[in-house]
Symmetry: C2
Subunit: 257 residues, 2 copies
């Protein structure tokens, strides 16, 4: 016979079942630690251990000292491909959101531009070494004050020095348009998506609860120079798992997709 399942596991199992079955619905309050301890005839520490399991699964949050609550998940649509379709890439996600849902919440973004030495990630993708300076355009996009993604674009400094690309303001025609005007039109992109737990820095910048994974979406943009495809821009997006669905459209015709 299989070994007895631990008490804290059984507590977690029962509560999880209640959540998936709908007995416990979004935003509803869970029993307190003390109540659970009593009901299962165990110590508070064990009840806490059970609750922590669900916290780490991203199913509940502790709102101290009000209690534990079932977490709500309202993902918004994120379409990497949109930037190839609509003139103003930057505005797109917001439009998407506003189109999808009627609620006209306040979108906002904070832009920061810096010059720095490229990280390993950027070096490899731009085919440059650590000594080649890059311009970095960091954006944090929020809705109603709630941050919902981080977006850092990296371009070799020599390509964009002194241009609008480096303006720490919104560029209405889009930074990709700026690159195109400079002779670096992005004609091909490679998207990489990795899934992991956030670093503490990401966690605090995005105000993530524990148990919230992120998708790291890296877009390498290639332009044609001297008849060859050359990488010109690497954009790293950090998307909280509880706030996004990433969508791609693929068609068979044309061998692309």
């Amino acid at each position: 016979m299989a070994r007895q399942r631990a008490i804290y596991q059984r507590i977690a199992d029962e509560l999880r079942a209640d959540i998936t079955a709908g007995t416990l619905r979004e935003d509803m309050r869970l029993p307190t630690e003390a109540e659970l301890a009593q009901r299962w005839k165990t110590s508070r520490a064990t009840a806490v251990q059970g609750l922590k399991v669900l916290v780490n699964e991203g199913l509940i949050v502790a709102d101290r000292p009000r209690g534990y609550f079932v977490r709500k998940r309202r993902p918004m649509v994120y379409r990497p491909q949109a930037e190839f379709r609509i003139p103003e890439p930057d505005a797109d996600i917001f439009r998407q959101r506003i189109a999808d849902e009627q609620d006209s919440r306040e979108p906002s973004q904070k832009i920061e531009v810096a010059i720095s030495s490229p990280s390993k990630t950027v070096q490899r993708r731009l085919h440059i070494d650590a000594k080649t300076a890059v311009a970095v355009r960091r954006r944090m996009r929020s809705i109603d004050g709630d941050p919902f993604n981080l977006n850092d674009s990296h371009v070799p400094l020599s390509l964009v020095e002194g241009t609008d690309w480096m303006s720490p303001e919104d560029v209405p025609r889009g930074t990709n348009r700026v690159l195109a005007e400079l002779g670096y039109e992005i004609i091909h992109s490679v998207d990489e998506i990795m899934v992991r737990m956030p670093t503490p820095e990401e966690s605090s910048r995005l105000a993530l609860g524990p148990g919230t994974p992120v998708a790291e979406h890296i877009v390498t943009g290639y332009a044609r120079r001297d008849g060859r495809e050359t990488p010109v821009q690497v954009t790293v997006n950090i998307l909280p798992g509880d706030r996004h669905v990433i969508i791609y459209d693929r068609v068979r015709e044309g061998e692309s997709a």
Copy 2:
């Protein structure tokens, strides 16, 4: 002045810094709970709490009773688009892997075919209700005995009843080819990618350590019937975050991408 950071947080911070700085490398052993407790002049429970933080971040694993070890992350390439390019979609990921790395480890898959009532997820995407039976083709793909993804395809039963699609064996020419032969060639797909923590069932089926998020990759395939695009197949892939990078290629030409 900001409130004092908790001891367990500081323990986690220090160890995390050692890992990202490379002082603690992959597969290296961490100090024991007792050592940490002593070094920080605290109780074992607090040291454990600090280690748990890193476990839940997916940075370390506890291998009882040998100790805690820095986790290794060896993602393999996953290309959803490949199935539109190479005749045998099923074989592709394996080929990819074998091409990328020389190590010829043993790929294998377990296939199961069932008839069932569609889940909400499938209903919505196939435009059917719970009363319409679907054929489900479940695959678990492994390398060297290590499971690395789950892949469940759903098709309305009426389309594939009695065909090769329902054979619980590998279909060398690919199940999408079978669909095409039946007059349901998939000409358009929509990919959705969601990021979340695994359910306990996924966790055990894929042998996931704690702190490992998954990507849920849902592909809805559309075929042309009577001049209209109709959804014919929904495939749900569960990809462990520590074992995958999802890659998409996008080109500007042809308005697709």
